[in-house]
């Protein structure tokens, strides 16, 4: 059980993350001026285009040099620099309370690390925790000084209940958090599939990254499950009796592969980047190598 913020993100890793930034494949319109280009023309120093002057335009942006040569009024347009909205949807269901390392700890550490990167780069960071019927949120964080606040909020979250992915995505879509990068952290063990949830979030201007976090024993169950066992679903409580034979293990592996492929296909169809990571993966490698390679960080 983690109790300190530095357990979520130690200073050594923090120092290495300072050089990273979250990448969005889309250009968003932020709420305040930030450090990213916006499609909205604004008041930055970076020139974007010209357009004819119409009455009511700010005369300060009239290009008088062109007026002198062409005797016509043109207005100079500049790119607006806006901040990036970085949102996390964290699965806090009971199923995340399993695994070695614990999946819930892993996603909190990952959210902490990505949130730190966002805060350092003046992005607007927000976190949503879904577990059972509850939705807990922490929004409006910006700047390095909010890092601790983010860490403490993550530490105070607890796992419990089921994870309704479709409901969570609808909440995110209608939450008015503005456009931005949405990172969904879950194990995606969804009985009804992820299609409905992805459909709800698609088209809302989010650049969605779905990261499936699986414990090692979920990928390789033979390491912990042997013989005749009665498996209890941690969320639903439903039992399943299984005789751990090689044939059953193979069938499980095949079913997991099919499940992952279905998630990946659904994500691709909705323009979502899907990734699967194991919780025993070192955070350094995950952030500095894997996520950079997959385009979430740069």
């Amino acid at each position: 059980m983690m109790k300190r913020v530095d357990e979520l993100l130690d200073s050594r890793l923090m120092a290495r993350l300072d050089t990273l930034d979250v990448v969005s494949r889309k250009v968003f319109m932020g709420k305040v001026q930030g450090e990213r280009r916006s499609r909205r023309r604004g008041q930055s120093v970076e020139f974007a285009d010209f357009r004819p002057y119409v009455p009511g335009d700010d005369l300060r942006f009239v290009d008088w040099n062109i007026y002198g040569r062409l005797d016509r009024l043109f207005l100079k347009l500049f790119l607006e620099e806006e901040d990036l909205s970085l949102l996390f949807a964290i699965d806090c269901s009971t199923s995340m309370d399993a695994g070695t390392p614990r999946k819930f700890d892993f996603v909190r550490r990952l959210a902490m690390s990505l949130g730190y990167i966002g805060l350092v780069n003046q992005s607007r960071v927000g976190c949503f925790a879904f577990g059972g019927d509850r939705v807990e949120r922490l929004t409006g964080l910006r700047g390095r000084r909010r890092v601790r606040e983010l860490g403490e909020w993550l530490l105070s979250r607890e796992s419990g209940g089921a994870f309704d992915f479709s409901k969570a995505m609808r909440t995110m879509a209608l939450g008015g958090q503005g456009r931005g990068v949405l990172v969904v952290l879950s194990d995606f063990m969804l009985a009804d599939g992820a299609d409905a949830g992805l459909r709800a979030i698609a088209g809302r201007g989010f650049d969605v990254f779905a990261i499936q976090c699986l414990a090692p024993e979920e990928v390789e169950p033979a390491s912990v499950l042997t013989g005749d066992v009665r498996l209890i679903d941690s969320e639903l409580g439903t039992p399943v009796e299984v005789s751990m034979t090689s044939r059953v293990i193979e069938a499980y592996a095949e079913r997991l592969r099919q499940h992952t492929e279905a998630l990946r296909d659904a994500s691709v169809r909705r323009g979502v980047t899907f990734m699967q990571v194991r919780t025993d993966m070192p955070m350094d490698d995950l952030l500095l190598t894997y996520l950079r390679r997959r385009g979430l960080l740069k």
Partner: protein, 657 residues
């Protein structure tokens, strides 16, 4: 098939089946583990079950295989045994006790085929009376021994002990194997068993079960009725080899009657030629051995019939001044020792005792004196008749009685050479006189005509005759028989129906030879060179002299036959049903020794047949094979099958997981 212990099998089945089914109904006790999600497990595993303590019994190959294994084990515990044929009904067991059944070619601890056949019959009786859980009816069994004279050892009985004892009481005989008479015995027993059913529309079925080596000589006479069925239980090996001394004969030296030479005929039933060493035993002691082994040819098929290889051998002459029991036998026994020897009883030589009827018969007296008889007594016909009437043994005390013209009115028992009209001679019918007869034919090979030339014989007159009692014409004249012999039970006659003086015969050398031959031939009936061996199974007639005398015949194997003389002082002892020598004795006092010869070469063939051909029915009865043992335990096969099923189940289980 019967079940020796069906209750145990049922108990085992009943006690194991419910737990087995329960194991399939009740779910396994499993360790509980909490996992993040059972989503993938639910679809990935095949043995997921609903969350209830019981489940519907589903079809499972494993369950099916286990049920089969359980059933096989339960059946094995019930100890099923297969039966040889039908159980209930009437069964007549025919046990062959003939000579060939003494062969020692059977496996196991049985000393002979007969013992093996008796054991098989006893097991068959046990099987027929096995009872059992499902089949409670027992058979009615009759036991008949055949071989030589068939004998009913036990009538139809429901008691297995009685039938078994009857089988055990069967002793070997050395007769031929004759089945038809034995079957007739059984049919007779069936007809008298229940006379009320004699006219029934459907006679009761009867099964003839024959325990034999299959060498039955009268199979052609065996015909089964519709209600009869024959089961053949073959006994013995098909490749057994046997050779036998078929017969033995003796020849006495004419110059020295004390010297005799033995002749033996050997047969061999093997498919390959062989050799055998032969020895001559006199009174139990080896007396002579052939200098080299006798080469015996193999049996060969002639006209579709297998014939044994035969060879005749002669031993060097030996001196038997006191007579004795002479036996030719092989030095090395084969599979059937019973026919490895043949014996003869040789009486001591005896001088001629002759009688001449008719005074001053110079021609015949001269002829008889030339034979150098021990005695030559002359009588008139009347004197001879009177003496014979006073002493029944008088006429038989002469080796030959020679008469010319004048014959006794009633010819007493004895041996006679008669010249002249034979009218009134018993066994001869006459038809008047004939004249001018010449020889038209002879039995040249007859002993009486040895060195006798009758081509120039001319008979002026003779009596036409016909010999009616076991007669044979040896010289046929143009007008009727000129010489004949009659061999009756009490009289042996040589009849010449003319007076030699009415022919030119006395002037020919052949006449003396004829008289000599006739005397010697007649004498052979009173003092044979050998005592003719008895046929196996015959009885011996013994003159005890007075009634109430106990006579016994003791075979060399120890078999004893006893009889007591009747009012006439005669005792019939027998049957002498074993080959070899029998000592006839009265109260321990030896009377004589009798040799009994075998039934013939066919009985020496001992290669066991696998089937009984019935030519009259155009059918062949195959041997019942191993089922001669009656019941055969099946539990080892069931156990083997259950192990195989377990292996299959294990393979199926591994294939599933």
């Amino acid at each position: 098939m019967t079940w020796l212990d069906p209750v145990t099998g049922l108990i085992a089945m009943g006690s194991i089946l419910p737990p087995l089914l329960a194991l399939y109904i009740l779910k396994l006790r499993r360790r509980t583990r909490t996992v993040p999600s059972t989503l993938l497990w639910r679809t990935a595993t095949a043995d997921l079950r609903a969350n209830v303590p019981f489940q519907r019994l589903r079809f499972s190959v494993l369950l099916l295989l286990q049920l089969i294994v359980l059933a096989l084990l339960a059946m094995a515990l019930a100890q099923p045994e297969s039966d040889a044929g039908a159980r209930a009904g009437r069964h007549a067991l025919f046990i062959d006790r003939s000579l060939s059944m003494r062969a020692r070619d059977v496996d196991g601890d049985q000393p002979s085929r007969l013992d093996a056949a008796k054991q098989a019959a006893a097991e068959r009786i046990a099987a027929l009376h096995a009872g059992g859980f499902w089949l409670g009816d027992s058979a009615s069994i009759m036991v008949v021994a055949f071989g030589g004279q068939p004998a009913v050892m036990s009538g139809f009985t429901d008691g297995p002990d009685q039938a078994t004892r009857a089988v055990e009481a069967i002793e070997p005989v050395d007769g031929a194997t004759s089945l038809s008479e034995a079957i007739e015995l059984v049919r007779g027993a069936l007809a008298t068993a229940n006379p009320d059913d004699a006219g029934a529309a459907a006679p009761e079925e009867v099964v003839f079960e024959v325990f034999s080596d299959g060498r039955v000589v009268d199979l052609a006479e065996v015909a089964l009725r519709p209600e009869e069925r024959l089961v053949f239980h073959s006994v013995g090996a098909a490749d057994s080899m046997n050779r036998s001394v078929a017969s033995i004969g003796m020849v006495r030296d004419p110059e020295d009657p004390a010297l005799v030479k033995a002749l033996a005929r050997l047969i061999h039933w093997g498919s390959q030629p062989t050799e055998a060493e032969l020895e001559l035993v006199v009174d139990g002691l080896p007396r002579s051995v052939l200098p080299a082994p006798v080469a015996m040819p193999a049996a060969a098929t002639v006209d579709g019939v297998l014939r044994p290889g035969e060879v005749e051998v002669s031993f060097p002459a030996i001196a038997l001044p006191e007579g004795g029991v002479v036996e030719a036998r092989f030095t090395m026994p084969d599979d059937l020792p019973g026919d490895d020897g043949a014996a003869l009883v040789v009486p001591p030589p005896r001088d001629l005792r002759l009688a001449l009827l008719g005074a001053d018969d110079f021609i015949l007296r001269s002829a008889l004196e030339s034979l150098d008889p021990a005695s030559l007594e002359e009588f008139t016909a009347e004197e001879f008749s009177q003496r014979a009437a006073g002493d029944p043994a008088f006429s038989r005390s002469f080796d030959a009685v020679v008469a010319r013209g004048a014959f006794p009115a009633t010819l007493p028992p004895g041996r006679y050479l008669l010249f002249g009209d034979p009218t009134g001679v018993p066994g001869v019918e006459t038809f008047g006189a004939k004249e001018g007869s010449v020889v038209v034919g002879t039995r040249g090979d007859h002993a009486l005509l040895r060195f006798v030339a009758v081509d120039e014989l001319v008979v002026h007159s003779h009596t036409a005759m016909v010999v009616t009692e076991r007669g044979e014409v040896i010289i046929e004249g143009s007008e009727g028989p000129l010489a004949a012999v009659s061999v009756g039970a009490s009289r042996q006659l040589v009849i010449v129906p003319f007076d030699p003086l009415d022919s030119n015969w006395p002037f020919q050398r052949g006449f003396l030879n004829f008289v000599s031959n006739a005397v010697q031939w007649l004498a052979s009936f009173s003092r044979p060179l050998t005592i003719e061996p008895r046929e196996v199974g015959q009885s011996e007639r013994v003159e005890a002299g007075q009634p109430g005398v106990s006579i016994s015949a003791v075979h060399e194997s120890g078999t004893v036959r006893q009889a007591t003389s009747g009012a006439d002082g005669l005792a019939i002892v027998g049957p002498l049903d074993r080959i070899g020598l029998w000592r006839i004795q009265s109260g321990g006092t030896p009377i004589r020794t009798v040799a009994v010869r075998g039934p013939g070469p066919d009985e020496s063939r001992i290669d066991a047949a696998s089937a009984l051909p019935l030519p009259s029915m155009g059918a062949t009865i195959e041997s019942a094979g191993n089922s001669t043992g009656g019941r055969r335990a099946l539990w080892p096969w069931l156990l083997l099958a259950s192990i195989a099923m377990l292996a299959i189940e294990w393979w199926w289980y591994l294939r599933q997981v």
